[in-house]
């Protein structure tokens, strides 16, 4: 099985310190991977480097055979991206927004694919709504439709279900699972909801202090830390970081 994402030796240093420290992150065709870690662990910086939005100080990123940054435009035809924190442009209707992104992805019939995507997530009735008229859950769903309407080989979701109620979160998970099963789409997702991660991901990569501290199946990772589940691993790593910062005098 080939890699749809192959990032090696990623390093990113900001003025406040090293955010990402020699991270390797690979996702195979159809694989569902969760990138986990506490706030400040380096998840978003790693994602943004993998997407070519932030330039790494060292390391390489290859997406579906296209090496970044030179092959960014070609690589992005294979990638879909949505984030729970990104708004929809205010002055566009949902169908106009989706048509625009469909055209950016080079789709020959973006309207039909947008309608199919909206139906997949049970929000077909929203196609004429303005972005400002949507609830946060509906915006998230529309963002995911935007990210999936071109049948990407790799779907990257940053905090997709943050601030969603359990019903909408379930709809997101169900829609994503169906998409991945039907289309063979690989998934790279970040989330702070460990229960959700255990339901979605077959492999988890834990970051702490900008480094990969665990990589494997959820149960294996939890067992490796001597913990019962991913939530306990998360709390364990958070406590470790707190203790380290206390020792280094970051927190009194």
């Amino acid at each position: 099985m080939t890699h749809v994402l192959d990032a090696r030796g990623l390093v990113k240093e900001y003025r406040r310190g090293r955010a990402v420290d020699h991270v390797d992150l690979a996702v195979r065709e159809g694989e569902r991977v969760a990138l986990l870690g506490a706030n400040g662990a380096g998840k978003t910086t790693t994602l943004l480097m993998c997407l070519g939005v932030v330039e790494p100080d060292a390391g390489t990123v290859v997406i579906c055979g296209h090496r970044l940054p030179k092959g960014r435009s070609a690589a992005m035809t294979h990638v879909g991206f949505a984030a729970g924190y990104l708004p929809l442009p205010e002055r566009l209707r949902v169908r106009e927004y989706l048509r625009m992104y469909g055209q950016l992805y080079g789709l020959a019939d973006p309207e039909a694919l947008a309608a199919k995507g909206l139906e997949r997530f049970g929000i077909g009735h929203l196609d004429v709504a303005m972005g400002t008229e949507l609830s946060s859950g509906q915006k998230t769903l529309v963002g995911i439709v935007k990210a999936t309407m071109h049948d990407p080989e790799l779907l990257v979701l940053d905090e997709p279900t943050a601030s969603l109620d359990p019903d909408v979160a379930l709809r997101v998970r169900t829609g994503l699972a169906r998409l991945c099963d039907e289309e063979g789409t690989a998934l790279l997702v970040t989330s702070h909801n460990m229960l959700e991660v255990e339901r979605i991901a077959e492999r988890v990569v834990f970051l702490a202090g900008g480094r990969v501290v665990a990589d494997g199946r959820p149960a294996e990772v939890a067992a490796g830390f001597g913990q019962g589940d991913l939530e306990e691993v998360f709390l364990h790593l958070a406590r470790e970081r707190e203790a380290r910062e206390h020792q280094e005098g970051v927190h009194p």
Partner: protein, 275 residues
């Protein structure tokens, strides 16, 4: 991937069209943004046209005061070519920062040059609207028919259009580097360029120490060529040549600056300002 796609040759054009259409919707649904292309041109034309008519009434036929009226009205028409070209592209980019849409665009196949082309394409429509308002106001209010200056206006307007786009690239670079705090340049930069360009008067009217700066600006030579048409001297090919050459230099410099700032934007992770 099973979704049917257009050919690789068609894809860039489709992306450019998508960006242009996105900005058309934005303008259509934000009437206050029409201010730049309706009210400003009208106010400018009434202001400078009335000053010109007042001066003209102070002198006899063929006097310097008569020429000043022509300079003011032709100047304001040409000024709006460069101003509208710049403001349309710069605000098109700012719109993406205001709506926090930059990250979403940056993770699509859209190339930077395609984005600028899309915004500039739609900007041409705004430019036609804005300049149209000036031309009509000058004709109806002051009986000044800009077309009477002849086809020589076309190359001058073309140079000013490209100069406006070049300045907008520079503004985009500043916003990428310094964030939305730099957006004041989008509206303010031409109010620095305007007096230095001799929009309404010859270079000799400027203080001596400012003239070397003025000579470096493409707009200075373009407006000099415009005044030659107003004076009935025909096309000043020397001024037009200088305007073209300096526009090429300024455009290359602005593009290099934008590429540099974009690189810095990616290297320093400034995208987080817009997420």
């Amino acid at each position: 991937m099973s979704a049917a796609r257009v050919s690789e040759r068609q894809a860039p054009l489709l992306r450019i069209r998508a960006v242009a259409r996105r900005h058309a919707y934005t303008l259509w649904r934000s009437p206050h943004r029409l201010f730049d292309v309706t009210v400003w041109p009208l106010v400018d034309t009434v202001l400078f046209g009335s000053i010109g008519i007042f001066f003209a009434s102070q002198g006899g036929p063929g006097s310097g005061a008569q020429a000043a009226a022509g300079y003011l009205l032709a100047g304001i028409v040409l000024w709006h070519v460069v101003y509208q070209a710049q403001i349309a592209v710069a605000t098109g980019f700012l719109e993406e920062t205001w709506s926090r849409n930059l990250l979403s665009f940056m993770v699509t196949p859209l190339r930077e040059i395609e984005f600028v082309a899309g915004v500039a394409l739609f900007g041409l429509i705004k430019l036609v609207l804005g300049v149209g308002v000036v031309v009509l106001t000058a004709l109806v209010f002051y009986s000044f028919d800009v077309t009477s200056l002849g086809l020589g206006l076309v190359p001058i307007a073309a140079v000013l259009l490209v100069a406006g786009w070049a300045v907008s690239l520079f503004v985009m670079g500043l916003v990428l580097r310094f964030g939305n705090g730099a957006e004041a340049f989008a509206w303010g930069i031409f109010f620095v360029v305007m007096p230095l360009s001799g929009v309404f008067y010859p270079l000799s009217a400027l203080p001596v120490f400012l003239r070397p700066v003025s000579v470096l600006l493409p707009t200075t030579h373009a407006f000099a060529a415009g005044r030659a048409l107003v004076d009935g001297r025909g096309m000043d090919w020397g001024a037009l040549g200088l305007a073209t050459a300096t526009t090429v230099v300024v455009s290359a410099a602005a593009l290099a600056f934008l590429v540099w700032m974009l690189r810095l934007f990616r290297r320093r992770g400034y995208i987080t300002r817009y997420t």
